[in-house]
């Protein structure tokens, strides 16, 4: 932790004083005699209340970075400082991929899972969880098991679980990757609405450029493995955004093109490396 005077000066030079500060993070996975460097010296600052999307080629370590922030991995070197006020709520919650919804819990119990783990009384957590399900258009499905839900609905249960937990930071790991293109747009729209009213700090991993540009305040492009931050783009599209319309916006198309230029070489390189 920086002391307060150092932070004040850092603010003038480096930008925000509250947020997530990732400094010189490195992660090496050891499997027997071979070691794989998943991410290599990442420096990244995410301001409080910012929606940051990270795109990168497959296997570039973007999920590893997210898992470090989510407390599921420890970095091999470097540090993460989280300087966001969270008072009585949890610091962070992750939104996992679709299969992260528990099949043995009803939609309501899934949505209330984080609250239950934190010991929130049953009545209270049910109230909050069902309010969140309602916001996501899942009223009437409270007692339904995930198996009976469509992929899009299951993913909205997943979102409800994280949002109902009301964390300061949301970490999303390609949550919409398994959905078909149209359902994806609808869920993106739900996500935009939820976020725009809560303004949580979000780190969103995706390999879809459209998704990154649609949702994010900024888009970071990661290099092929070992992953580094290669480029950063500000997405100045006005909010509130509409996921169903935004793709025809000329500004959207322009910024998407720029991001793709940065990403293209990395994708091609990653493919070449895969074939060797």
């Amino acid at each position: 932790m920086l002391d307060s005077s150092a932070r004040a000066s850092a603010e003038q030079v480096d930008g925000p004083s509250t947020g997530i500060f990732i400094r010189d993070i490195e992660k090496v996975f050891q499997a027997g005699d071979t070691s794989v460097r998943a991410i290599d010296r990442i420096d990244l600052t995410i301001a409080e209340g910012e929606f940051l999307c990270i795109v990168g080629p497959s296997g570039c370590g973007k999920t590893t970075l997210l898992r470090i922030l989510g407390g599921l991995e420890t970095p091999s070197r470097g540090e993460v400082e989280i300087n966001i006020r969270h008072e009585n709520r949890p610091v962070q919650s992750m939104v996992f991929q679709e299969q992260g919804v528990f099949p043995w819990l009803s939609a309501l119990d899934n949505a209330a899972f984080g609250l239950q783990a934190r010991g929130v009384p049953k009545k209270e957590r049910r109230k909050q969880a069902s309010a969140m399900l309602k916001k996501l258009g899942l009223s009437g499905f409270e007692d339904t098991y995930p198996r009976e839900l469509s992929g899009g609905m299951r993913q909205r249960v997943n979102l409800a679980r994280a949002f109902a937990n009301d964390p300061a930071i949301l970490l999303m790991d390609e949550p919409l990757g398994a959905l078909d293109e149209q359902t994806k747009m609808l869920v993106q729209d739900d996500l935009l609405k939820l976020w725009e009213e809560s303004r949580k700090t979000v780190l969103f991993i995706t390999h879809s450029l459209d998704e990154a540009v649609t949702l994010g305040d900024r888009v970071a492009v990661m290099s092929h493995r070992p992953g580094r931050i290669k480029a950063m783009f500000d997405i100045d599209l006005p909010r509130p955004r509409n996921a169903l319309e935004i793709r025809n916006n000329p500004e959207f198309i322009e910024v998407r093109r720029k991001v793709w230029e940065a990403l293209r070489d990395e994708v091609l390189f990653a493919r070449k490396a895969e074939h060797e």
Partner: protein, 275 residues
């Protein structure tokens, strides 16, 4: 020739009967086929096409069952078999599940015990009977052990495999949402492995019944297995057949009871087939 694809012609006058047939088709077929078989068997035995001394007609078997119920012999024997089966099932499955879960959860235990399981599991279980008799003695305990061995290994292997194969993402979710390591077992591992355990129990039911009848063939002087084997040895085939029918009913009844129990224990698995 025109290549026209059209809907199949449906009957002009929709009646009640085709919808009735469509609705209950499965039920009618599944009840109908065994009844048809019994009728053919009855006719075959009555007309002399089948030798009634070797294959007594179903009605004769039914009469025999009734007689045996009346002189209280059958219910008693069924009770003996049912009790053995139940005790053997519990003695086999419960420790099997416990040990399997432990082996799945703790690698050192798994590494230590896996070779033993690998050696013992494939041994034909009935071949162990003489050994068990020598070690335990010619008594009910050795009978129960014989019945329990099949379910024990089945549950051990099923439970261990299920724990090892729990989707890692479930544990990640639980950890991320702040579930403490010692609560992980009840919040994630147990519900995640329950479906596999329930299928293992269904397999074990068959094995336990097999074991029960085998033990009664070999050493017992009571039970349905004894009735079946002893009656056959004195060429009282009607009684032998009667014992067989009751054993089959016992097996089917337990299977149905388990199926019902499964719906109750793991409701999330069955919901898809509800319609």
């Amino acid at each position: 020739m025109s290549d026209l694809i059209s809907a199949p012609k449906t009957s002009d006058k929709p009646k009640d009967s085709p919808t009735f047939w469509r609705k209950y088709q499965g039920m009618i077929s599944s009840i109908g086929s065994p009844i048809l078989l019994l009728i053919l068997w009855e006719i075959g035995a009555r007309t002399g096409f089948l030798d009634a001394r070797i294959l007594p007609p179903p009605t004769a078997v039914a009469v025999t069952i009734w007689d045996m119920i009346e002189n209280e012999q059958l219910l008693q024997q069924t009770g003996v078999t049912a009790l053995r089966f139940l005790v053997g099932m519990i003695v086999g499955t419960v420790p099997g599940i416990m040990l399997g879960l432990t082996m799945g959860l703790f690698r050192p235990v798994r590494v230590a015990l896996n070779p033993l399981v690998a050696i013992l599991y494939p041994v034909p279980r009935i071949a162990l009977f003489p050994l068990v008799l020598i070690l335990v003695g010619l008594n009910e305990t050795s009978n129960i052990i014989m019945i329990a061995i099949g379910p024990f290994f089945t549950m051990l292997i099923t439970a261990m495999g299920a724990v090892i194969n729990v989707e890692p993402i479930y544990r990640d979710v639980a950890r991320n949402f702040g579930v403490k390591p010692r609560q992980l077992y009840f919040t994630v591992t147990l519900p995640a492995v329950l479906p596999a355990i329930m299928s293992g129990v269904l397999v074990s039911l068959g094995l336990a019944l097999l074991g029960t009848v085998a033990v009664e063939f070999l050493v017992s002087t009571k039970g349905l297995g004894y009735v079946i084997w002893n009656s056959w040895q004195v060429l009282s085939l009607k009684q032998s057949m009667a014992g067989l029918v009751v054993a089959a009913i016992l097996g089917a009844a337990t299977y149905i009871a388990m199926d019902w129990l499964e719906r109750w224990i793991i409701p999330w698995q069955r919901t898809v087939t509800k319609r």
